[in-house]
């Protein structure tokens, strides 16, 4: 009886002890989730003008200044041996990219370390922390944008090989899925602006119809047009689509009037074939 009482007391005591010890864990404070900051990712070329976003312009200038300072304090860049380029076709999106051979891509770990050391040597982390603590939510958002925009500016470099070299934190697997075949915003803007001036839109077109004409161009390196092809050519002969012929002809006239087109000075392989989608609906609905 005594033995049973002792065992019971010991077990109860142990239970009370465990409960007492585990309570502080139960009372642990909930995780502090940082506020969600939305970041708009846009591809920005070096020369793109964004007149409607002066704030973004200031931020980009700030980032550039910081970059300059960083570069001045760094050792001269290490010479990289010239390597062959190859094309990687992404499986998911069926899009193709240029990339260096695997040997040319710096290992991700090393790169991350490099960036960290750079920051530590240049800036005082304590001071930075204080600044971050003092700013409002809105300003925090800007601060986050700085990093992203800096990365995006790097991404928009024309030379694909350089892009990959600078995106050091990207692994080889991730690298295969990058899309770099499009024109940069400034290149696209220049081309569009040129064609806008050349395209006389036929005003009599029925604006409630499909007014999209797709023209595939084959270009010379200087932007001269070698060949034009209307992709929906069959539509010209369809009954009730007489307006399409007028529209397509006006688009062809615009291309011929505009040539040589304002194409990038480099990367001919990228844009030697180009598709222009002429859509008059926006103008005619006006």
């Amino acid at each position: 009886m005594n033995r049973s009482l002792i065992i019971s007391s010991v077990l109860h005591g142990a239970l009370i002890l465990i409960t007492a010890m585990s309570l502080p864990f139960l009372a642990k404070k909930p995780l502090e989730i940082p506020p969600i900051v939305s970041v708009e990712l846009i591809q920005i070329a070096e020369k793109t003008n964004i007149p409607f976003a002066p704030k973004a312009k200031k931020i980009i200038e700030k980032v550039k200044e910081k970059e300059k300072k960083l570069v001045s304090e760094q050792a001269p860049p290490k010479k990289v041996k010239k390597t062959k380029t190859k094309t990687v076709v992404s499986v998911d999106k069926n899009e193709k990219i240029d990339s260096k051979t695997p040997e040319a891509i710096p290992l991700p770990d090393k790169t991350v370390k490099k960036i960290e050391t750079k920051k530590e040597s240049k800036q005082n982390p304590d001071k930075l922390d204080k600044e971050v603590k003092q700013v409002s939510e809105f300003e925090k958002k800007e601060f986050v944008d700085l990093d992203n925009i800096a990365k995006l500016i790097d991404k928009a470099k024309e030379d694909t090989a350089e892009v990959i070299k600078k995106n050091n934190d990207i692994t080889q697997d991730q690298d295969k899925n990058i899309v770099t075949s499009g024109l940069t915003l400034s290149e696209e803007d220049a081309l569009k602006a040129q064609i806008f001036g050349c395209w006389s839109i036929p005003l009599g077109l029925p604006y409630n119809e499909n007014l999209l004409v797709r023209i595939k161009l084959m270009l010379e390196p200087d932007g001269s047009v070698i060949k034009t092809e209307i992709l929906d050519h069959a539509r010209m002969n369809r009954p009730g689509q007489g307006f399409y012929k007028v529209l397509a002809e006006s688009a062809l006239r615009a291309v011929k009037l505009c040539q040589p087109l304002r194409v990038p000075t480099t990367g001919y392989e990228r844009w030697k074939e180009l598709q222009l989608n002429f859509d008059a609906r926006e103008m005619l609905e006006g």
Partner: protein
């Protein structure tokens, strides 16, 4: 075998250089007039002399090309280039243009042609060239009596307009209007008809009776109008070709704004009686009259939609004059104008997408257009006094009349016809021999 397979496998692993096709969206263009060259139509000496004798025109080829040039210029969509800049002679250009020469003067299209005198008839052939594509876009020939030479110019203009803009032209058309003469308080008003460019003006009535609101029927052969006989308004039908005229009916009270239905079988108009006005239709075959609206308000200015299923009219049933639409049997009346001011004279576009109207707001008169649901109101022109818009057959241009203010002595009054296109920028005075009001645009004569 295994070796070959291994080679194939290794080849598959080799990098292939390929790029996705870059696409660029072009969603804007310019609305500047298209520069084009209208070369004088070439003519041989023999034909030239024959036409000079018949038509008293020194060079009929040049005359026709001038008509084409003027038509295209007034449309506001084309910019005919100065002939003095042309480097190629008309006869050679008609055979095979030197595209580089025309490209040099920035022409994007070229019109060439030839006039000949064949079997006492006028034969005109013309070609439209795409200068940038260096190819022929269209080639047509017409044969007609020599006196029809102006119409040939208008038909060529229509064909070029249609080929380059994608919609039918409006040059081979006529305008009927009320020609006005004399002091404002004692105006002599006659029915008159002319080509859309002001040529071939003819007076259809003598001016003994007051005439108002002439309107073409869909074939442009008949005209309905209102005339006062012994101070009583009557609705008349006039056959333009034969000159025969008949009274549609004597109606009790005042009658206003007769207009044909799209099939030309009915006339729609409004009668005023006992202080109210309603809309009626009359079947032209059996002369049966049907009352369409029945409301203790003033309903006037009815106009059919091109498919004949709806009628637009103005009514003061909401307290002040606004535009309404209803089904052709008078059901489903819906108010569509809600802006500030008074709205009147709604006219349905031949394309069916817009309704033109006159608006009075803060002492100014406006000609404007709105969609058939009343949305997208656009005021095209503003003036001291202007009204009675009428659509060109392609629904691109409106003709209306505008009056000027008189001075303190009661002088300086005038009424003129004006045209304006849907952009609101291309406003032009339409030349008439006398003062003019109440224009009505015919449909295309060469359909």
């Amino acid at each position: 075998m295994k070796k070959n397979f291994l080679i194939l496998f290794l080849m598959a692993l080799l990098p292939i250089k390929a790029f996705a096709l870059i696409e660029v969206d072009i969603t804007r263009g310019n609305l500047n007039p298209l520069p084009l060259a209208v070369s004088p139509l070439s003519i041989d000496d023999k034909s030239k002399k024959s036409f000079e004798k018949i038509l008293k025109k020194e060079n009929i080829g040049s005359e026709i090309s001038t008509i084409v040039e003027n038509n295209l210029r007034t449309s506001g969509l084309f910019n005919p280039l100065n002939k003095e800049a042309f480097l190629q002679a008309p006869d050679i250009a008609n055979l095979k243009p030197r595209f580089e020469d025309w490209n040099l003067i920035k022409a994007q299209a070229l019109i060439t042609g030839k006039v000949t005198y064949v079997d006492e008839k006028l034969r005109v052939e013309f070609r439209l060239w795409d200068i940038l594509a260096a190819k022929e876009m269209m080639a047509l020939a017409f044969t007609t009596v020599p006196s029809n030479w102006r119409r040939v110019g208008h038909i060529i203009s229509d064909k070029v307009y249609e080929r380059l803009t994608g919609e039918k032209g409006y040059f081979d058309t006529r305008i009927i209007y009320v020609a006005e003469e004399g002091p404002k308080t004692q105006r002599k008003k006659r029915l008159a008809i002319m080509d859309q460019d002001g040529a071939n003006n003819k007076f259809l009535t003598l001016g003994n009776e007051l005439v108002l609101t002439p309107r073409f029927n869909p074939t442009s052969q008949m005209v309905t109008y209102l005339s006062y006989f012994k101070n009583l308004p009557r609705v008349y039908l006039l056959d333009i070709e034969t000159g025969t005229q008949e009274v549609v009916g004597d109606f009790p009270g005042m009658t206003f704004a007769p207009r044909f239905s799209p099939d030309g079988k009915k006339i729609i108009m409004s009668f005023a009686k006992d202080g109210k006005s309603d809309i009626y239709t009359m079947d032209l075959e059996n002369r049966l009259v049907e009352k369409i609206t029945n409301h203790p308000s003033i309903d006037t200015s009815p106009s059919y939609s091109p498919n004949g299923k709806f009628i637009a009219f103005n009514s003061d049933r909401s307290g002040y004059q606004q535009i309404y639409i209803m089904k052709s049997d008078g059901s489903d009346v819906k108010r569509i104008s809600f802006g500030n001011g008074i709205y009147g004279t709604p006219v349905w576009s031949p394309r069916g997408d817009l309704i033109a109207f006159t608006k009075l707001h803060k002492g100014k008169f406006y000609i404007g257009v709105m969609r058939t649901d009343g949305k997208g109101e656009r005021l095209l022109t503003e003036n001291y006094y202007q009204e009675a818009p009428s659509w060109s057959p392609n629904g691109r241009v409106l003709i209306f009349y505008r009056e000027t203010k008189t001075n303190a002595k009661g002088e300086g009054f005038s009424a003129k016809l004006w045209s304006i296109d849907l952009t609101g920028y291309n406003e032009r005075l339409v030349e008439t021999q006398t003062d003019a009001s109440d224009p009505s645009w015919s449909s295309l004569l060469s359909n």
